[in-house]
């Protein structure tokens, strides 16, 4: 039993804000907007404070808090962060305020509900990253669904309802099976210990798992359930088809969060729960997952080549990029794992930014058909420049953050299996292919008649829009030159994970 601390604060601050906003007059949208932004910024600041206070060289869980919750089953309110959690928390808080800022213009009706959903969404996401108790984790995991469901379903595009229901049901199927697995795990522990105490405590269970408690068929099946839940979230081929729909229909900010954070929940889940709890099963499943990841990487890229819609293209590129994450995780190799973690952060920044940019153009054209674009370079030079910047970040240009994560992942894979590494590396070509194709169609050439038809609507970026992109761009450059900032931060998590799966660091 410890006193509530920073973690609790950063987790529930948005909830508090949401409650407050609920009492604001819905007749004053501007007030609501700024209130929401303020709350998000506050949460951001708190997370930064944690970042400063975090001791990277200390590999243990920090800012840990724990309080009994449902003692009967040993369920606790246990939270805390290690490097990876913290990095992702900061990513979340950052992207949240950026998304809220980016929603000022596009979201004009039902602003209040929107902002409230967004803040609750933030609660869920942060909660997943900080939870140290399986039950608590699951609650946050599910909590994420509802607001996202509303965000896509209410403020989304034409086909939004189909998309949002697909999103929720698909995710739900996975997570419900995971719940069964969670309970089975806890029960196995309780059975062995004869008491429910700590039966949901991740740390304790991890120790038990290291002792081989969850090996054998049980582990195999339980891991399968976890795998399904996380694979759908990531999403891995062939569970990815909800993503393009959701992205296309979601409002800009929704896409940003979806790509920036929600997909990371899956990767995080693998690293934090699936691997440590079922190391043996993880090794059994690894070949399959690696193959799926390879397929996803190449497949996503190739399919992205022929997408007619900007958002769909970026969505499929996400499938490809997230493939790197799962690949890096499941080669069980130091560089691979570091690369995977780095890739999660980078993908969050870069793809988030790309969706923001797509949103900006959509604001002006109310259309995302690539075929209708062209010649923006002359009409929106700053915008085009920004777009180009993030395009090349996404292509994995050295000096920008995308490169390091990707390279490390590939290296890790190559070390373990040169063949797999070689296959994955070829995506460098496809990535360049679809991204440059999109950029060329967008920015190069003469102004398309569709655009010239819109006439004066096509204005360059507004300051507020630029404001949403600048921090992301800065981070992309900084992490590109000093990836050590992240790598040192997550060193502890890497070490822990490797030990969990029984691979000596550096192996």
């Amino acid at each position: 039993m410890t006193t509530p601390g920073l973690v609790t604060l950063v987790t529930f601050l948005p909830l508090l804000g949401a409650v407050l906003i609920a009492f604001l007059p819905s007749g004053r949208p501007q007030l609501v907007r700024y209130a929401a932004l303020g709350v998000a910024l506050a949460a951001w600041v708190v997370s930064l404070v944690m970042l400063v206070g975090f001791v990277a060289s200390d590999y243990s869980i920090q800012f840990a808090e724990s309080a009994p919750w449902i003692p009967m089953f040993g369920i606790k309110y246990a939270v805390g962060v290690d490097g990876l959690s913290l990095a992702l928390v900061v990513l979340t808080t950052t992207l949240t305020w950026i998304s809220i800022l980016a929603s000022f213009g596009p979201i004009q009706n039902r602003v209040k509900e929107y902002m409230i959903s967004f803040l609750i969404l933030e609660v869920g996401m942060i909660g997943v990253f900080v939870a140290r108790d399986l039950f608590l984790f699951y609650i946050f995991w599910e909590l994420v669904l509802v607001p996202m469901y509303l965000i896509i379903g209410i403020w989304g595009g034409k086909n939004r309802i189909y998309a949002t229901i697909k999103f929720v049901l698909y995710t739900l199927v996975g997570s419900l099976l995971m719940l069964v697995a969670i309970l089975a795990t806890a029960f196995t522990y309780q059975h062995a210990q004869g008491s429910w105490a700590d039966a949901f405590d991740v740390a304790v269970l991890t120790k038990a798992a290291a002792g081989g408690m969850f090996n054998g068929t049980f582990g195999f099946l339980a891991f399968g359930a976890f795998f399904l839940a996380f694979a759908i979230k990531v999403p891995m081929f062939p569970f990815h088809t909800w993503l393009p729909d959701a992205h296309v229909e979601a409002p800009t900010a929704g896409s940003v969060i979806l790509a920036g954070v929600l997909l990371k929940l899956g990767g995080y889940g693998f690293i934090r729960f699936a691997l440590p709890l079922f190391p043996e099963a993880a090794h059994t499943w690894a070949p399959l997952i690696i193959v799926l990841s390879l397929i996803g990487i190449i497949y996503g890229a190739i399919v992205a080549l022929v997408q007619p819609d900007l958002k769909k293209l970026v969505a499929y590129s996400s499938v490809s990029h997230m493939g790197f994450v799962t690949l890096g995780i499941f080669v069980f190799q130091e560089q691979g794992l570091q690369g995977a973690m780095l890739q999660m952060i980078n993908h969050g920044l870069i793809t988030g930014a790309l969706f923001l940019l797509v949103g900006i153009i959509y604001e002006r054209m109310h259309d995302r058909t690539i075929a209708k674009m062209g010649g923006l370079g002359s009409r929106m030079p700053v915008y085009s420049a920004a777009f180009g910047f993030f395009i090349f970040a996404s292509v994995g240009l050295p000096g920008l953050s995308g490169f390091v994560g990707e390279f490390l992942t590939l290296l890790g894979t190559f070390v373990v299996s040169p063949a797999a590494g070689a296959v994955a590396t070829f995506v460098m070509i496809f990535a360049a292919g679809y991204l440059l194709w999109m950029f060329q169609r967008l920015a190069f050439g003469e102004l398309s008649e569709f655009l010239s038809g819109l006439g004066s609507h096509i204005t360059d970026m507004k300051p507020i829009e630029a404001l949403t992109l600048v921090p992301l761009g800065a981070l992309v450059v900084i992490f590109g030159l000093f990836p050590g900032l992240v790598l040192n931060l997550v060193a502890g998590s890497v070490d822990a994970t490797l030990r969990a799966v029984g691979v000596a660091a550096g192996g």
Binding site: T241, Q335, Q440, P483
Partner: protein
């Protein structure tokens, strides 16, 4: 340790600039890439406003000034580095700024390594870079957003210098990709021109193909040696008794793949001719003098690796010499002046690779230098010509320009003779060394083909001269009257480049004829000596009266033959082109006709790529998307539908009639009774 301090720590321990042992050189060397990137940032951010406020000059002063500055700084580094003076010595100077990628066992330093080889490249890059910058001032005089152009040029300088200076494979790769980026931006500078946009994309993607190989090579090196530092890893690779997970040959070939991409070796050559869509200075700087040499530099840098993987070397030589003749054959019939030069560049690069392949490293670098200068000269000259005839690039719409633009004509004539390999101009020495060593190292076939290429080179270069400058004018009459020589910013660089095109060869390699060792050879000796010993022991002395003399004569004769043929067909002075003879030859018989068409259509390579990657590839991608929508997603939706339909079917049993319900219950009762009787009946 806390995070933010850790960052500071990383920075400090990574900057031993204040360290006294190396003196000021680390600082100077760091400045060389640093200044251009700053110039890029500055110009990219403020160039637009500066230009709007105070005109183009204000926007150009910074980037150009910076390039001049780094040329000076570079010289301060180059001189001692070439003379192996302290702190460079024979091993070269190496230092680290900070640890770029601290990924556990995978540590990548952001550091630089300067030795003679680096210095040579520095010399070429900074010198030509500077001249091109100056030239561009004039060239882009009536272009809208020149600030962007200069920003890109600075970015390129930065990338190229990083590539050359890098002390670690990954950093080389970084530079490698960055030059790709800047060439993309520069080729696509006139972005509203669709062809330019496409060419830029093509260049980047084709380069990426090579980069994949390079990246894999780097990984292989890491797997084998566990370090990313170039010098260390090379040492470990060839260390006797080193255990290699991945055989040297494979590593070498992977690295070579990267080189092929950048240096546009067959079959990755397709991007270079298209790259001519970019502004001419870009072609001169990137696609003649510097970037395309990166591949040559890379292999020279990795020479120990190749020296110990001779099977790979043979392939290098083969691809090199094939590219040489292949490109030359295409250059015969092209009518776009820049494309002719582009194919000639390909061909010359082929020479260099052939040289590397046969183990003639010094000649390769030698040719790299000389070629850099005279090809730069030729491109800038062609730019001046194009400028003069108002952006006309088709040689069939030129002619009789030698009077109107004398300086351009003179300098280009020098360049032509130089590339043809007529002594005592630069090209002769380098090319002759390549052919000679190829012969002496027992690569007779390389030598033979090289000789043929020499003939062809001389021939098509004169074709270019003839069509452009001599005979009667075919220029658009509207343009005819106001053809004029280019401004001094353009002619000056021409002159400045003409000088090395004349003398450089003699200065760097002439000593051999005096029985000494070439100056360049002396400089590069420590870099290559081990590999050369491994490959061909101690080289026997040069005997002018012996085999070497004969080889020299032969190659000179070849060059002369080519020129003569050119003169005969394409004239000089007022003597006009003998189109009838040309046609007669090209239509002589089926073979020639075929060759003519093949050359004209670049051996149909673009069509092949179009078929493979656009048509078929596109189809494949489309098919996969269909698969995604119909099969993968279809399955998902199918599950939903099936469930729905199941519900729709089941709801029918709810007929609304009590008796049906009752009957259901009764049946349920019977079934249950039956099952219970079964259960209960079981003996326990």
């Amino acid at each position: 340790m806390h995070l933010l301090p850790s960052l500071l720590f990383a920075a400090t321990e990574a900057t031993p600039i204040s360290a006294v042992d190396h003196g000021l050189y680390p600082l100077l060397i760091s400045l060389i890439p640093l200044l251009p990137i700053l110039g890029f940032a500055f110009t990219a951010l403020f160039g637009r406003r500066l230009m709007a406020r105070w005109g183009r000059g204000a926007a150009e002063i910074v980037p150009v000034g910076i390039v001049i500055a780094i040329w000076v700084i570079a010289l301060m580094v180059i001189v001692p580095a070439l003379s192996h003076a302290e702190p460079f010595g024979e091993q070269g100077l190496e230092f680290k700024l900070w640890t770029w990628i601290p990924a556990g066992s995978f540590q990548v330093d952001l550091g630089f390594h300067v030795d003679a080889l680096t210095a040579v490249l520095l010399l070429v890059v900074t010198t030509i870079g500077m001249l091109v910058h100056v030239y561009s001032i004039g060239y882009t005089a009536h272009d809208r957003a020149t600030w962007r152009f200069f920003a890109y040029l600075n970015l390129f300088m930065f990338s190229m210098l990083v590539l050359v200076l890098a002390s670690s494979w990954v950093l080389v790769f970084a530079g490698w990709e960055l030059v790709g980026l800047s060439s993309y931006l520069l080729i696509g500078f006139w972005y509203h021109k669709r062809s330019a946009a496409l060419a830029a994309k093509k260049a980047f993607i084709v380069n990426r193909v090579g980069d994949v190989g390079f990246a894999l090579g780097i990984m292989a090196i890491f797997v084998n040696t566990g370090t990313m530092n170039i010098q260390e890893s090379l040492a470990k690779l060839i260390a006797p008794g080193a255990v290699l997970t991945i055989p040297l040959g494979v590593v070498a070939l992977l690295v070579f793949a990267g080189a092929m991409g950048k240096s546009a070796q067959f079959p990755l050559h397709v991007w270079l001719p298209d790259a001519m869509e970019g502004p001419t200075p870009v072609s001169a700087l990137i696609h003649a003098a510097t970037m395309v040499n990166a591949g040559v530099y890379l292999i020279a840098r990795a020479n120990p690796l190749f020296a110990h993987a001779q099977e790979a070397m043979v392939l290098v030589a083969a691809i090199g010499i094939f590219t040489a003749i292949f490109a030359a054959s295409i250059a015969f019939t092209q009518t776009d002046i820049k494309r002719v030069l582009a194919y000639s560049t390909l061909s010359q690069l082929g020479y260099m690779f052939a040289a590397l392949g046969v183990g003639a490293f010094v000649p390769a670098i030698f040719h790299l230098m000389t070629h850099g200068f005279f090809k730069g000269l030729l491109f800038l000259g062609s730019g001046s010509v194009i400028h003069a005839v108002h952006e006309e690039q088709d040689m069939n719409r030129m002619g009789a320009l030698w009077r109107k633009i004398p300086i351009t004509h003179a300098t280009m004539l020098i360049g032509t003779i130089a590339i043809a390999g007529i002594p005592p101009l630069a090209g002769f020495f380098s090319k002759d060394e390549i052919l000679g060593e190829a012969f002496k190292f027992g690569f007779g076939w390389v030598w033979a083909i090289g000789l043929v290429v020499a003939v062809m080179t001389a021939f098509y270069m004169w074709r270019l001269m003839g069509k452009t400058f001599y005979g009667e004018s075919r220029v658009d009459p509207a343009v005819e009257p106001n053809i004029h020589e280019s401004p001094w910013q353009m002619t000056l660089p021409l002159v400045l480049l003409a000088i090395p095109s004349i003398g450089l060869g003699a200065i760097l390699g002439g000593q051999v004829f005096a029985g000494g060792t070439g100056l360049l050879a002396g400089w590069l000796e420590p870099v290559f000596k081990d590999s050369e010993r491994v490959l061909h022991g101690t080289p026997e002395a040069f005997q002018l009266a012996g085999i070497d003399g004969i080889l020299v004569l032969v190659s000179v004769a070849a060059a002369a033959l080519g020129l003569a043929a050119g003169l005969a067909l394409f004239g000089w002075g007022r003597r006009r082109v003998r189109q009838d003879r040309v046609d007669a030859i090209s239509n002589a018989n089926g073979a020639t006709r075929f060759l003519y068409r093949a050359s004209l259509n670049k051996w149909w390579f673009d069509d092949l790529n179009d078929l493979l990657f656009i048509r078929i590839g596109g189809r494949v991608a489309a098919a996969m998307w269909w698969f995604d929508r119909t099969i993968v997603d279809g399955a998902v939706n199918a599950v939903g539908l099936v469930t729905q339909d199941a519900g729709g079917g089941l709801r029918r049993i709810q007929t609304g009639r009590v008796q049906n319900y009752a009957l259901g219950i009764a049946i349920g009762l019977i079934v249950m009774a039956g099952s219970f009787l079964l259960i209960v009946g079981q003996p326990r």
